[in-house]
Symmetry: C2
Subunit: 874 residues, 2 copies
């Protein structure tokens, strides 16, 4: 039997991708599910191999099969190739099994010649269109098939416009175009030394040859080398009849979605134009009609289209985005693909499709991009108002949400303005812990410096507050209380708006819409919770944050940072006294005053969390962060504390570090100042005993020692913690279970986790620091080169946003394995920024962690991502 | 047969440590090799167990065996326990298998009572001595055996002195002492409610009981718990007869070394006093005689002693430090141990002992502490002058050697002063790369801040230049050109002296002695080279350093830092222009000017190193290190470069980093500014091709890319290097082999070394940075807490000085194993400070490295340590 080199679309099938190429297999699939796809056929990848076997020539056998298929198409369409009355025109496209740049471009309207162009003019009643198509076809064919330089053709076009004083191509008349066609043919003849082929079959054969040849052009070979693709796969060629929506009032073209892509409503949504080509819909010269109106104009076509869209959804099990053309009353589907949609629409469609029996719960869970949920949890700008808004500049989308307000430049002034009832946007070069209060009261934060994990970004995300960070074009002059964007000046009190989800900054105020957590959201979360095995905790430092997180489904606190509590206006003086103490006694005295405040914080948090686990981290940041930096603040503090300015500066100076990230912080503080650990332990334990008694609950605090690198550090500090707990329990005559564990955030801790686990009763990976130290990247400085690293493909993405699985992830895996070797039931979590990143969550699931902890607003994301991790790793 | 509970020294043997305790086994050994050790016996650790079995009582069997042994001693010594004429006195000491604090103290002169004190007085012809010994014995016995508070006795003594108006104990007369003895006995009776035991046997039994009881006192139990020692081992008790050197003119006491401990000369060396106790030799009231004079006074005893010392050396195979006493013409050896010695003496003795057939070459190699060689390679202060010198203060012994000179406070002034022929000590708060020139010309460097791995320390060691760093008490005022030490002021031009081996700082000038590398040094090094398998390279950046290192035996350069070359006065302006460039073109132009200079450096180094391998590291430090910091320098530079001060400051500011150690440095620079790597590669390769042609050698440069964390970084840069090399080779029409490798100094690189090795042709561990990032310790800041960590036993030692084998070492092992998994012949070295540390070298040997690289002056140390590593791990 003769080998089959060419397949009509209806002869192919989706599974034959290697033979038919991706595009060919897809066209076959669409044809087979009964879609009215324009007729066509595919010349196989085997034919491509054969082409090379024959010395880059099509064998007679293949040519014969192509001819045969063309005949079938002529029959099906009732048109004839090259016909002067009703010509069949085709497109020719390459299509390898894996899509690849460098391959031949599409050729449209193949089959046009001096005869058929008249047929096209008649049928479309548009002579100008026909000749314009012809001249385009000649240029494209010459360029793509024979490499005739494009500029030769462009020159002719430019000359014609200049002669006639035209500004644009559209001014060219039919007569102009006819002349141009002649000149194009002359160019072809001169360059190719042959007349432009008038025989459509010859055109087709040349085009197929060109596609096959392009498989081995330099660009395609390089691409395959880089991506390790086999050179022997070959490409297929797809030949498909052209259809025209501009063949009169019974023709038309349009685009539609099977459901509303903005809301997800299960109702056909789209628009179309009668007697028009696809470009006309996009060009916006004529106003398209809504898809419903097609029902009035062509009820049968509309009914057919509706049925098709329903079948398509059933087939692809997802909302479809469909391009269609009606040629003389006959509907053709040109393309269908899964439709892009808003987070709202995605959620509604997924949940409703489960209800409709179209997809399973698991499919619904996998259908939603976890990060997209973030859009649902924050205020957003009102869509209608947004149409008019134009962004002034764009920074990093550091923390989602939308906010408008008057700009203020210091935390102090922000607090004062909010006190007067103003809505405030805090604008800073960059933020520091001193700004916490101001950030807390502001509606949004804008910084000129810092990356996605800068102080501003991390804190804002934790607060669920809108933040645009690292906005280079914003030049802030904090002293003058003004900033400029591209020369435009903004002063204190001017109103701006921030979109933390896009990073865009707007002038003036924009209306915002509050999030509406509909039943669909709750439904999806319920399914996620049924599926996931990873627990989801939150990073929260206050009762308010804890409440938000619990509302979003947090199952505990994975990281309660005690230092944020230290910046409160009432407390900071005592904290500073503690730091400036010259003797242990002075330090203890200051700590005595901090104790009741810190205890009250913990009581507040425990009361919210009830029996959900709470992990409290002992003091972590270097002490200098608590001291004032500005001259005036230093003076105020030294007056207040009755210490000379010189003395104050000396202390501040002595706390200066060259590399604070690698300096005197974390458990190193507690080792040199054990009395701080004693005070904090006391606050944690006293609060727990008291709340247990008051509320009748059974809180079991988890005390977390930060930045340990060695077992010996933990031994020393666990001893101090245990002695303190014993003291408190004895004083209170109480009873309490508690755990002492550590963060694994130092590379040395990861590789000696077996030793660490001898002392530590739980692990929490601090992947921010682990990334900093594991990579040797300061997250405050890496912004200078990480962008270039990503551009040069040295890094696939910012490792502070999504964990570097191959390297930092390996340290995590080593830590997990060694830790569990010592304690096989060791509870292990992660509390870095990565705890809220879906890709990282997939990794943590595979690495065997028990929980992730993330900022409150990322809890729903983490719940969904954790469910997806289970489904994706089945 | 009756169980043996008590062993005479001559019945024991060295191997019975568990039974006899460490001290007992040692006394048995000395006795068995024929030394005249004072007679005695050991009550075994088994007797201790039995003591507890019997409810803390000595069994009759044990008591009987003790009695029997006492009789033997009486016979041997010809004295009688408690005798009024010639009493036998004994010492009682505890001695467990492992020495341990908390056990009972020594009791001396047991056996003294109201009778025997008279005998002691008669025999020593010194009644005062006898009663003083008696009162001391009563106090010690009461305190140690019965816990009578010491202060009760001290009060009596103080009262006696006060009554008589004495200032010191020595003024007490015999009569005073007799009265005191009576009062002491009264105290005993009052406290113990029994008379002081006059029966020596009773004294002995009580003392043995007390030793056994002390095994279970609280302090000893705690110690064993902490150190994981078994509580069931028990302790032994040693009872030994006392001998007296003050029994007349035929008695005496002294200390001698079997060889000269200062020079190593094989000649008896020591001193003695006739008719004296050991304390008298130490007290310095009478001037001791040299040991030779004993030959004149007591020729037979001298001959016996000489023979004994020779036998001791043969037995212990090492120089001995021996305490002896002559009692009535009879020689007793009280103690012998390996003698402490200078590095010179150790070297000479070890080499000569091999010649004498006393020890093997391997034993000689193991006998020398590698670090001690450092003393032999640098100038030292003349010993005779030193006697008078008094140290002003003490800092860290950052780089060995001794130097005197006039103090200057800036590199610039130091250079000028040296130009005028002055000897200079550069004094700075801390040094920075800008000071290199000044450090280079100075005789020594003193800094107020910085640790053992501070810039000053590292650079000075590299230069083999004396440096005292981190000298807290030195308050430097660089602007006023002065410093103070404990209030004493020193100004520019004042002379001071530094001892970099001790860290001491002296006022004025001290004579120095040049090192004399004798034949013994060369001999030992030859043996080391025959033994070791690790290669030893050097870290050298200049031809001069390279020459020094080759002289010390370096087999190649493991680290040539190209940035040090950038600080040259001629070059720094071009380097700064390069940094301040706004376009790639400007940068290339500046680099063009640097190229010939850098090429000249490499040619100079290649000419010294010939065919020894040279590893050149591409630019590593952050660019801001090359820019001026001081206002005046910034102004000068901006004038010079015709750039506004504002612009200059802006650039300097923009290069500021929060954590420069984790910032834009190492290969990150070459990735953002590839043109720097191109220039450096060109210099390396052009130089090699030219020197190969000029000298007829075959240099194969090793280009080392610093701070890589990812395979992709290396791929990118290796591509740039390879393209450049191809260009140069084509231009020069030359031929050259070369390697491209990387440093493994980022934790991520260590754990992904299998991937890294796909690109990297060799590895060099940068354990300084690996320690910084692996521990999360900035070496510039860790000084603040590392001391406390060591005090609190959280760290055993400074991990920047000796590699942390359990943690950072594990990263090294992971890196070696993964790297060799990809390339099984991968050449791996280390070029951090640890490359010159003996303990670290032992680790690197075990980890399977091919070479270590260290500063020139540590090359001999590394050669010896590498030999010891082979011998110690056989």
């Amino acid at each position: 039997m003769e080998k089959k080199w060419v397949y009509l679309f209806k002869e192919g099938e989706a599974s034959k991708k290697a033979l038919l190429g991706g595009k060919g297999a897809n066209l076959a699939e669409m044809t087979n599910i009964g879609l009215p796809v324009p007729y066509g056929f595919t010349v196989t990848t085997e034919a491509c191999a054969e082409f090379y076997n024959q010395g880059e020539k099509l064998s007679d056998e293949i040519k014969a099969q192509v001819d045969e298929c063309m005949k079938v198409i002529e029959e099906q369409s009732g048109k004839k190739f090259g016909d002067i009355n009703d010509p069949l025109l085709v497109s020719v496209r390459s299509g390898a099994a894996i899509s690849m740049p460098g391959m031949m471009d599409t050729i449209l309207n193949l089959g046009l010649n001096d005869d058929s162009v008249i047929g096209l003019a008649t049928k479309t009643e548009n002579e100008r269109f026909a000749y314009d198509s012809y001249r385009r076809f000649i240029q494209m064919f010459s360029d793509v098939v024979l490499s005739v330089p494009k500029y030769l053709f462009e020159n002719v076009l430019d000359d014609a416009k200049e002669e006639n004083g035209y500004e644009s191509d559209t001014e060219l008349t039919t007569e102009d175009l006819k002349k141009i066609v002649d000149e194009y043919k002359a160019i072809y003849k001169k360059e190719v030394r042959k007349a432009f082929p008038q025989d459509p079959k010859e055109q087709l054969e040349m085009a197929i040859n060109a596609v096959f040849s392009s498989w081995n052009n330099a660009r395609a070979i390089t691409y395959r080398n880089i991506h390790n693709l086999s050179h022997s796969m070959g490409t297929a060629v797809n030949v498909q009849s052209m259809v025209f929506g501009n063949m009169g009032d019974d023709s038309g073209t349009g685009v539609a979605f099977s459901r509303n892509p903005a809301t997800g409503e299960n109702k056909l949504f789209g628009e179309f134009l009668m007697n028009a080509q696809g470009e006309d819909v996009v060009a916006g010269i004529r106003t398209p009609k809504t898809i419903d109106e097609l029902g009035d104009i062509m009820p049968e076509v509309y009914a057919q289209f509706k049925e098709i869209t329903e079948n398509l959804e059933k087939h692809y099990k997802d909302m479809q985005d469909i391009e269609f053309t009606i040629e003389k009353g006959k509907l053709f589907i040109l393309q269908t693909r899964n439709g892009k949609r808003t987070a709202d629409a995605a959620l509604r469609a997924a949940v409703e499709m489960v209800g409709e029996g179209l997809i399973t719960k698991n499919e619904a869970l996998l259908r939603i991009e976890p990060s997209s949920l973030d859009q649902l949890l924050h205020p957003t700008f009102d869509e209608t108002t947004m149409v008019e808004a134009e962004a002034l500049t764009k920074g990093l989308p550091a923390s989602p949400g939308a906010a408008s307000g008057k700009v203020y430049f210091t935390a102090h002034e922000a607090v004062a303005a909010v006190g007067k009832g103003e809505a405030v946007i805090l604008v800073r070069k960059e933020t520091s812990p001193e700004d916490i209060e101001g950030m807390n009261v502001a509606n949004g934060i804008l910084t000129a410096r810092g990356g996605m994990t800068s102080h501003a970004a991390v804190v804002a995300r934790g607060m669920g507050k809108c933040c645009v960070a690292g906005c280079d074009e914003v030049r802030v002059n904090e002293e003058a209380k003004e900033f400029t964007i591209k020369g435009e000046k903004f002063v204190e009190g001017d109103t701006i708006s921030l979109d933390g989800s896009t990073g865009k900054v707007y002038k003036g105020s924009i209306k915002t819409v509050e999030p509406n957590l509909s039943g669909n959201f709750a439904q999806l979360m319920e399914w996620a919770d049924e599926t996931r095995t990873l627990k989801v905790r939150t990073n929260a430092d206050t009762p308010v944050d804890s409440e938000t997180a619990v509302r979003f489904g947090a199952e505990g606190i994975g990281l309660c940072r005690t230092e944020h509590m230290f910046f409160d206006e009432e407390r900071i003086p005592e904290v500073r006294k503690m730091i400036l103490s010259e003797t242990v006694e002075q330090r203890k005295e200051a700590l005595e005053k901090i104790l009741p405040m810190q205890k009250a914080d913990f009581k507040g948090i425990y009361k919210v969390m009830k029996e959900r686990p709470v992990t409290v981290r002992l003091l972590d940041p270097p002490l200098h962060e608590f001291l004032p930096q500005e001259e005036a603040d230093i003076k105020a503090l030294s007056d207040d504390m009755n210490v000379s300015i010189e003395k104050m500066k000396e202390v501040i100076n002595s706390l200066h570090e060259f590399n604070p990230m690698l300096g005197h912080r974390g458990c190193r503080l507690a080792i040199t100042y054990p009395e701080i650990a004693v005070m904090q332990t006391r606050a944690i334990i006293e609060a727990a005993i008291e709340v247990n008694a008051e509320e009748g609950v059974c809180i079991k605090p988890e005390i977390m020692i930060p930045l340990a690198g060695m077992k010996t550090e933990l031994e020393y500090l666990k001893g101090i913690v245990e002695n303190t707990v014993e003291d408190v329990i004895a004083e209170k005559d109480g009873k309490l279970e508690y755990l002492v564990g550590t963060m694994i955030e130092i590379p040395r801790a990861a590789v000696t986790a077996d030793e660490i686990a001898e002392v530590s009763e739980f692990f929490s990976f601090g992947t921010n620091d682990l990334t900093q130290m594991g990579f040797g990247f300061s997250r405050d400085d890496a912004g200078k080169f990480i962008g270039e690293y990503i551009d040069k493909e040295i890094l696939p993405r910012d490792p502070f946003q999504s964990i570097d699985q191959a390297g930092i992830g390996k340290l995590v895996e080593i830590g997990v394995n060694l830790g569990r070797k010592t304690r096989n039931d060791l509870k292990i979590g992660v509390c870095g920024e990565h705890g809220g990143d879906p890709e990282s969550i997939d990794f943590f699931y595979r690495a065997g962690l028990d929980y992730v902890s993330c900022s409150p607003y990322r809890v729903p994301i983490a719940r969904l991502a954790a469910a997806q991790a289970v489904l994706n790793n089945k």
